[in-house]
Symmetry: C2
Subunit: 454 residues, 2 copies
């Protein structure tokens, strides 16, 4: 179904819901892809959702809960009877069922789990951290023993095939459950029917420990172009498989976390939970510490200005350009830090390139400083101030641009060297670092050029 | 091979290269996964790379060129003879060969293409924009006619199988080449051998036009959990297939583009080309326009200050807190804009939530303002200034936090409504918007509380 048709159906559903024709709306919902269905469902009011849900049937409800954002899935499942919910969970992929169970109150989760037919697939997944390889994996994979022939493996797949989420590979294990190889479906088809799996399996399988962080998992998928990644325990026993679709979700999340960091909010805390799931007090807590730290650092600017109090009294027009100068320094620094963070993330720049990066960014800063300094010179004259003041502002702009580009290149690279993710270096941090030194430069130049009475 | 082993081999290669044992180094390189091999190769000096390349053989060179960053792949292929390079390109996936050919000088590209055996697979890929669906797709897919039986299709796969990059689906086309369905390998295995493909194919295939932007393609993969996406022309003829691994790369690129935007560099221009591939002049050009726009906007702060020149002369200590106040406003605004951009990207917030977002962010701003205002009050007293000055600063902090949170929520949501990607709203933009108004608030409060002689 193409995009315009999807839009049409969604519009129809909205109208049906508005006019209270829930049966019709439910039927139209079932025409949509589960992802589109979940979006249309989420857009409805809470009471409409509650009345709509029983009309969908357990299979469609399972698809719906898998697609909804986690807080909405938990909320939607709340009014469901335990036996209905357990049947719905049985129809979901084990990793998605485990995610939902993890969001329920523990007593209810235990009750529902007790009524599930496939509880044994889901139970092992509940012990892993959400953001680890174990938390991403599913237990719905196909494992075969090495002696099995290609024909037997194909027969085996015919019997169990439709249940599994990872149809691209069979995993080959030894008698202790240790992973010893994998077989692509294509290899299975191409192999001679009598050949045993171990004769054509790929022995050089990339695998990952269950405790590995999800960012590392995502990096391995990107690096090695993987479709699926087996998860093992410390002695190599196969525990589960992570598929590319879960990793695409991780990449989406990580990308938006980088934006949080860049804006000066520490990601990896409650700050990256869904927007509406946090109370105002929680949001304030997640932003306050960082804001306070920047605030305290920023009071340094007051110290600098107090130091030059007499200069300011003598030439009060010096204060007109304070926001312009520190603003420009902050902006130039933010641009530099953003391009260095990007270059580090894409492996275009490495810590050992520090000197070449500095040379380059100094050049960029000097050029930008000359251009903006010229503009500033004109602007100051235009305001009717004298040319020595224009010179002070222009020279300061030049120095501040060079200094901001230096700080903006140094800080993320040094962070990388000492093992801090450069993506946590925010634009506000750079701005704050540059502010006080920018003022020092400004007043030093002013004292040199203007020789104010003190 | 696990991570520590990979590190060991890389260390060994570095030592072998340093001591000039190129044959040994080439052998060790071949032990590595192509992705690791490319990294080790890229880390060597230019002249070492030139001498190492002929020792690798054409197959490994093909893998290497596919994994290297595009500018380095083009550079590496430069000294190769046209007939060697054409043989290497024949061993690469058609989409990767096309990417490399696109980076060569046109005359050389034509020469090399003319010597390739599989030129007809690569040629159609050269006409598409790099960042479109056509630019991402490969022509190495398997298409079958609807009358083919499952057994015939499996036989067909046995013959051509190993050459193709998209082993997960067969695409079913009609006599005009139009896409009418697809068949998963699993369905093929599970189907009765005599059944014709059209009886068990999936007719509801998601496909995309060749001109579709790569960001939209990535969104479809994320939304519909796709492993592969067929690309068609305007009348539905199957042109190629995009696989999940190409999309994972797009997601990585887009994520780092968002960081550029947030730092105040317009992505989607030359600014997102590889860091070292740009000259300093190009970097300056990509940053200057935006920096100049912010600079001009920031001169507004000077106008505000000139307007309050007499107030400043009367109470020169007012100027001590200018950087602190506008810095705090900018930081609070950056935090807000970052969390709203994230919430919009993850569909947690939609434009119609504008009022609820504003109410929420006003609450957050007010609370943060009260907390920081209290800290500021103490800080001003600590500097030995009087309590009316402390009051002015504290009240301004409160107002500025509320105002910054309002601007930080409004701007990205309004951008989304008028069809601008909210991710281009940068922290510097918000900072600049808040600066001049922050000063207006400050001096208005000061005039009210301090009644300075004017």
């Amino acid at each position: 179904m193409d995009e315009s048709l999807v839009d049409e159906v969604r519009e129809r559903i909205r109208k049906l819901l508005d006019s209270g024709q829930l049966d019709e709306a439910a039927r139209a919902l079932l025409e949509l892809h589960p992802a589109d269905r979940a979006e249309a469902f989420a857009a409805a009011d809470e009471d409409v959702r509650a009345r709509l849900l029983p009309l969908l049937g357990n299979e469609a409800t399972a698809e719906l809960l898998a697609e909804l954002p986690s807080h909405l899935a938990a909320e939607t499942s709340e009014p469901m009877q335990a036996d209905v919910l357990s049947d719905v969970l049985d129809r979901m992929d084990p990793d998605e069922a485990a995610d939902l169970l993890g969001d329920l109150p523990p007593v209810r989760a235990a009750l529902v789990l007790g009524e599930m037919d496939r509880a044994e697939d889901v139970l092992p997944l509940l012990h892993h951290e959400d953001e680890s390889a174990g938390g991403l994996m599913t237990t719905a994979f196909v494992a075969v023993r090495r002696q099995m022939t290609a024909a037997e493996a194909i027969d085996f797949l015919r019997q169990i095939g439709p249940e599994t989420e990872t149809p691209y590979y069979l995993y080959v294990i030894d008698r202790n459950g240790k992973l010893i190889g994998n077989v692509g479906l294509r290899d299975l088809i191409v192999a001679s029917p009598d050949a045993s799996v171990e004769t054509f399996m790929d022995r050089d399988v990339v695998s990952v420990l269950a405790g590995t962080d999800q960012e590392e998992v995502a990096r391995m998928f990107v690096r090695y172009d993987l479709a699926a990644l087996p998860v093992v325990d410390a002695i190599g026993v196969l525990l589960g498989v992570i598929t590319y679709d879960d990793v695409i979700e991780v990449l989406e999340e990580e990308a938006t976390e980088d934006v949080l960091n860049m804006g000066g909010i520490e990601a990896g805390t409650i700050a990256d939970r869904p927007y509406w799931s946090l109370s105002i007090a929680q949001v304030v807590r997640s932003r306050f510490v960082w804001l306070l730290a920047l605030f305290v650092a920023e009071t340094l600017t007051g110290t600098v200005l107090r130091h030059f109090e007499n200069t300011l009294k003598a030439v009060v027009s010096l204060s007109f350009f304070i926001p312009l100068l520190i603003g420009t320094g902050g902006n130039a620094g933010s641009q530099t830090v953003a391009s260095i963070i990007r270059a580090l993330a894409l492996d275009e720049v490495e810590p050992r390139d520090l000197i070449s990066v500095l040379v380059r960014e100094l050049g960029v800063g000097a050029l930008l400083g000359v251009l903006l300094g010229a503009v500033a010179y004109g602007r100051v004259l235009f305001w009717g101030l004298d040319s020595s003041m224009a010179l002070v502002v222009a020279v300061t702009i030049l120095c501040v641009c060079i200094w901001a580009n230096t700080v903006g290149s140094l800080v993320p690279i040094v962070a990388d060297v000492v093992g801090i993710d450069p993506a946590v270096i925010s634009a506000p941090l750079i701005t704050t670092l540059v502010d006080a030194t920018g003022l020092l430069i400004y007043f030093s130049v002013a004292v040199l050029v203007l020789h104010p009475a003190s």
